[in-house]
């Protein structure tokens, strides 16, 4: 097992920049998730770490060793492909033993290792079956088995649950995380599904258009998004934005939104007059008749313990998550108040978060900061 260090990694395809200046460190034994919309360069980054694609610039260090230009087979890593890439002409046992065969391991030892790994994944009853007839979840387990049987330095997985149906997916998310807790293998996991990312990751990197917008723990990313893109991408429904203008001074603790004063975490940097956005998560909105910030109920979505309420304001629609037992009528005017310590401020032009007391101790976003 080893730590993965990626420095100023860059990849161009002709004139198109697929990955620009990526920097991150995955500590030994960490489960790291790269999250981002389709086409943002997640697979490309992963393939460069694997050695299937050579970077245009930058460095990749595996356990302190510079592997940037090494061949895939010299890196001692394992890769789980989205479509699993199980060899159709071999049965489960042969598939799982294939990486060990490359190392010239004696037959008897391969057999032991494969069986041990199969037990760990609870697929020992499938060992002599052809891979073509396997169900999605089992194919997934065989692919995992083929990856872990060799005990490589780290695992790379490219949307391994992407083709499974929802029910299987929840099960596999759970199994994967459980497996990770048992073997503590350094893992880089790529997905565009934020729920998958939030529920499995120790660390997340949110990517957009070839850039890492933020790198941090799921909690940091959710509570203190570094950019408006991250704030919008993570959370369901996503963070609400209320725009406001003027300038921001160091030490300011209040801003004016739609004529109402709103308390915010203490601002820690100066900004000249510009457009800003106040970011507020749905669950940090309360209905408060005393508040000057007004809106009217537009619709509700009942979720059992909570409900999502759409509120129409002078500045567009907001979504609030409130307890399910609050009775609301369509068109009813309401006042809105926010939990001050949970608010984020963004500079609209660059999209990046304004430094405030709430962000104290949070790693600065890599992208624009």
């Amino acid at each position: 097992m080893a730590e993965i260090r990626v420095q100023s990694l860059r990849k161009e395809f002709g004139s198109f920049v697929a990955v620009q200046d990526s920097n991150f460190v995955v500590n030994d034994g960490e489960f790291f998730v790269m999250l981002g919309p389709s086409g943002c360069g997640k697979t490309t980054t992963l393939r460069m770490i694997a050695g299937l694609e050579l970077p245009t610039g930058g460095q990749i260090l595996l356990g302190g060793e510079d592997v940037t230009m090494l061949r895939a087979r010299e890196r001692d890593i394992a890769f789980v492909f989205q479509l699993f890439a199980l060899y159709p002409h071999m049965n489960v046992r042969k598939n799982m033993g294939f990486p060990l065969l490359a190392q010239g391991m004696p037959k008897a030892e391969i057999k032991n290792r494969v069986e041990e790994t199969a037990k760990l994944l609870r697929i020992d009853h499938l060992l002599d079956r052809p891979v073509s007839g396997l169900a999605g979840g089992d194919r997934q387990r065989v692919a995992l088995g083929r990856a872990i049987v060799r005990r490589p330095k780290c695992f790379l997985m490219d949307e391994p649950l992407g083709t499974l149906d929802a029910e299987f997916r929840d099960l596999m998310v759970h199994e994967l995380r459980e497996l990770h807790n048992r073997i503590h293998a350094t893992t880089v996991y790529v997905t565009h599904d934020q729920l998958e990312a939030m529920s499995m990751a120790d660390k997340i990197a949110v990517m957009n258009r070839g850039l890492i917008e933020q790198f941090g723990t799921p909690k940091e990313i959710y509570d203190h998004p570094a950019t408006m893109f991250v704030a919008d991408f993570i959370g369901s429904p996503p963070m609400n934005f209320l725009k406001f203008g003027g300038s921001l001074q160091k030490g300011a603790k209040e801003i004016v939104v739609q004529g109402a004063n709103v308390a915010v975490p203490e601002v820690r940097e100066d900004f000249a007059a510009a457009d800003f956005a106040l970011g507020v998560r749905p669950e940090h909105i309360r209905f408060d008749d005393a508040s000057k910030l007004r809106g009217s109920i537009y619709g509700t979505e009942y979720l059992g313990t909570t409900q999502i309420v759409a509120v129409e304001t002078a500045d567009g629609m907001l979504k609030a998550r409130v307890p399910a037992d609050i009775q609301l009528r369509m068109g009813e005017p309401v006042g809105l108040s926010f939990n001050p310590q949970r608010l984020s401020l963004f500079d609209k032009a660059s999209g990046r978060a304004v430094h405030t007391s709430a962000r104290e101790g949070v790693a600065r976003g890599a992208a624009h900061g």
Partner: protein, 315 residues
């Protein structure tokens, strides 16, 4: 692969019957010449040229005797002085006042055909597989132009370049050699092999090799252990197309080979009997000539079908 995969409505019983009838009629029409050759090979020389043609006749293997032997005419006195005939061939030959002088050239010509056809098929498929893999997986500079160039070698009938090749082969000492014929057929077939195989290899996801290369194999090992086993269908289909061409090729063979390296196709029509063409022997030669290709085709018929419909059928 069935018709149902393409049309939603199951064809009606009548249309199925009509289709079956058409297929049967077509099969019969194309099989009649083959059947006639097969029948002729078991006729006696007089039966083979009888008019009106004989459909019913007493079978004889005289044609096969004559195919594999050469005979000389002798006086009845000499023939009577010989020890009794030991085989059917001896007997029939003597009845026509002849004795078997030795083996004919058919067997060595047939062996030449086998060596040249299988040799050139192996070379064409081997080179074609490697080239197709290269075109399929790597960024080859000018790949499209190169592929077009390879295809363009098929745009005129190969015989159009017969004279330059004839002169070149004479200069190089390749005339009438098995090596020369193998090279020639390989050159003709390799373009077909590259194009067919590229289609098949394109269909194999790269992830398989990438997985193998990450798991510790070199590209060549990954190619051998992962790509090749999955390309067998395509390779078999390609091989059979190449083999059929090389096996049946007549024009170059008759132009460039005359002796030691002559193949069966130019040899068979030259079988001459007493007083002209020995039709049963020619028919016997043709029948024997058909056997290897028939066996090969039957063994690989599934792959052949896949090769013909290639591109149209996906899993």
């Amino acid at each position: 692969m069935s018709a149902a995969a393409h049309s939603v409505v199951e064809p009606s019983v009548t249309s199925k019957r009509v289709a079956a009838a058409l297929v049967v009629v077509y099969a019969v029409i194309s099989m009649i010449p083959l059947f006639w050759i097969f029948a002729t090979s078991f006729k006696t020389p007089p039966d083979s040229i009888a008019y009106p043609p004989k459909v019913l006749f007493t079978p004889s293997i005289e044609g096969y005797c004559n195919l594999f032997t050469t005979r000389t005419r002798q006086t009845p006195e000499y023939i009577n002085s010989l020890p009794p005939a030991t085989s059917f061939c001896d007997e029939t030959t003597r009845k026509r006042n002849m004795v078997i002088a030795g083996p004919s050239n058919f067997l060595p010509r047939f062996v030449n055909s086998l060596v040249i056809a299988f040799g050139s098929t192996f070379c064409a498929v081997f080179l074609g597989t490697l080239a197709a893999y290269g075109f399929s997986r790597f960024k080859v500079p000018l790949a499209d132009d190169l592929l077009f160039f390879i295809l363009s070698t098929r745009m005129m009938p190969p015989i159009a370049v017969a004279i330059p090749i004839y002169l070149m082969y004479r200069e190089l000492g390749l005339s009438d050699t098995a090596l020369g014929m193998i090279l020639l057929y390989t050159a003709v077939n390799v373009s077909l092999a590259v194009w067919l195989l590229k289609g098949f290899i394109d269909e194999i996801p790269r992830e398989y090799e990438e997985a193998a290369m990450i798991d510790g194999y070199t590209r060549l090992q990954a190619f051998r252990k992962v790509v090749l086993p999955q390309a067998t269908t395509g390779i078999a289909a390609t091989a059979i197309f190449c083999l059929i061409f090389a096996w049946n090729e007549y024009a170059f063979a008759s132009l460039l080979t005359s002796g030691t390296a002559q193949t069966a196709p130019p040899f068979i029509p030259t079988i001459i009997g007493e007083g002209g063409q020995d039709w049963p022997a020619v028919a016997a030669g043709t029948t024997v000539f058909l056997v290897p290709i028939l066996v090969f085709t039957i063994l690989l018929r599934k792959q052949l079908l896949r090769g013909i419909t290639f591109g149209a059928v996906r899993k």
